[in-house]
Amino acid sequence: MFKQFFEWYEKRHDYARDWIAKNNSDVVGCFCSYVPEEIIYAAGLLPVRLLGSHEPQDVTEPHIFGMFCPFCRDVLAQGLKGRCDYMKGITIAQSCLHLRQSFTSWENHVPVDYAYYLPMPSKVQTRHARPYLKGEYERYIKSLEEWTGKRISNEALRESAELHNENRRLMHEVYDLRKDPNPSVTGSEAMVMVVSSFLVDKKDHNAELKRILPELKSRTLDRETGSRLMIVGSENDDTKFIKMVESVGATIICDDHCTGTRYFWNETKFENGDILQDLADRYIDRPACPSKDWEERTRFPHILQMAKDFNIDGVIIIQQKFCDPHENDIPILSEYLKENGFPTLFLEFDVTVPLGPMRVRVEAFLEMLSEEELF
């Protein structure tokens, strides 16, 4: 049923090339989920999130020192290997230092016409961040208009925002189905659904979601749900890992990933009578990346609430090796979840994950969660 999403995920580059041909426009590669896709889309361009390919590579060592996260190196490798040669523009919204380097090295060593660094505020908790970010959006729009030679009207921005909202609403509907004791959606299906949503045109994605939702509601999977797990951490599109977890007696029910719920959880509210301020508020108010979650820790209650709403048995906390933002949250977060009755398993991810050692840890965790069966 999720065939289309898997195909988009597997053949993302072909899709992008076709899109360019069909719309005779351009694709903008987005580093980080804080890039305001609505604006890029309103400019008639296709925003596409840049991800890695989970294969060993030997091209990034001259550009990024080994102490930075494998994801940022894997992403850069895609550019250096020419996998995205069709991509004319790139944009990063400021988040962590790691990914920032993929962006600057990409700008220097991969041919692109247009590269924009958007200083998304780190302190989203100050009231001053809102007007500031609106100002940054104005600046970004001006530069996009100069590049494309086309004006971006407020009308186009509003339509784009509505289209993105619809996509978020539809994906929420799918997520709601996962609250069921025997969810009709597996974790790997849900993951690929969300990931593909930032690889393709939201129009196509919405259409596909509308097509499958009715069937999905009446769908029953012939598999044991097993332990209901939540997965929390940084970027994660490691479908191999998710499949492994779901093959040893568990189902991933929900997540807190920037490639998952953090990407689509909240909508743009049209309440300022000012579309740019509305958009700015949306990105300020979205579930925070740990690098922006201060002075107050707002992530923890959010994650806890989600674990309760989705009736979770245990939480897998994954971390990209060397990811400082998450390393700065994890010990306190797992303590917090334990105190609130949710056992956690910590796993460290690399570009490629050796499944053997991971499997032992996951199975042992499941045995730990499982009822008295063995006693």
Binding site: T60, T352, P354
Partner: protein, 259 residues
């Protein structure tokens, strides 16, 4: 003029005698726990091979990890410098030298005089080094020399996930359980090491010609993987393992001319 180069390597001690740019004799000994004795032994071996006495040798330079402890030596040069001089002596067209030892991989960028322009050494974690292959061949229960050869017969590339030699060992074992042909596993191992080496070489740039020295240059499987990774064919100087000693002997000759 006759000069000698002593390469105080971690595993082997090599001695080379040079007369006006021509190699007269070479000898090597296991370093063991008494490298100085080993060096003396290798030295006298080389002398007797060329029917010389120590007095006939005008200058002796050392190199290698233990160079500071080398006997008889007036002075020493680093492995990096020695490699560059040694290789360009026979192959002046070489601009990039790759040396893979038991625990360290090195890449050197040099000009035609063998002057080092840039170099890179692999940082911590020895996954990129020779001892990795040893561990793997043990895990596969295939003798080291055969290990290299069989990997040539494979055309399949399997990515190795583990970076650590010990973890890779278990990955190899699980490949065996998955009934993967040993040839394919051997290639996977060599590809993994090669890719670690290649990414280090990229730091100094891959400029032709590229030469490979060090023990692994005798491992055809590794050489094949490396060539694929570099997208070029590496030159392997004859007696590649004596390159360091040769470089030291050359510098010894030069410095003696000067004073």
């Amino acid at each position: 003029m006759i000069t000698a180069g002593i390469d105080m390597g971690a595993k082997f001690i090599k001695v080379l005698l040079l007369k006006d740019g021509e190699i007269m004799a070479k000898a090597q000994e296991m370093a063991g726990f008494e490298p100085v004795e080993a060096a003396e032994k290798a030295f006298s071996k080389a002398l007797s091979e060329s029917r010389l006495s120590k007095e006939d040798v005008n200058a002796i330079f050392a190199t290698g990890a233990g160079r500071k402890a080398a006997p008889f030596a007036q002075d020493s040069i680093t492995e990096v410098g020695a490699a560059a001089r040694g290789v360009t002596h026979s192959h002046p067209s070489v601009r990039t030298i790759i040396e893979v030892g038991a625990e360290e991989g090195r890449a050197v960028k040099c000009n035609e005089q063998g002057k080092v322009e840039d170099f890179a050494i692999n940082e911590k974690c020895a996954a990129g080094a020779g001892s990795f292959t040893e561990a793997m061949s043990r895990a596969l229960e295939v003798p080291l020399d055969e290990f290299g050869r069989i990997s040539l017969t494979s055309s399949k590339s399997i990515p190795m996930n583990a970076q650590c030699a010990v973890f890779a060992e278990s990955e190899v074992v699980s490949l065996v359980h998955a009934k993967t042909p040993k040839a394919d596993i051997a290639r996977a191992v060599h590809d993994a090491i090669a890719s670690r080496i290649v990414s280090m070489v990229r730091r100094v740039g891959i400029n032709n010609d590229v030469a490979l020295i060090g023990g692994v240059s005798y491992n055809p499987g590794f050489v094949d993987s490396l060539n694929r990774g570099l997208e070029t064919t590496v030159i392997i100087p004859e007696n590649a393992e004596y390159t360091g000693a040769l470089g030291a002997a050359i510098v010894a000759a030069e410095r003696n001319k000067n004073d």
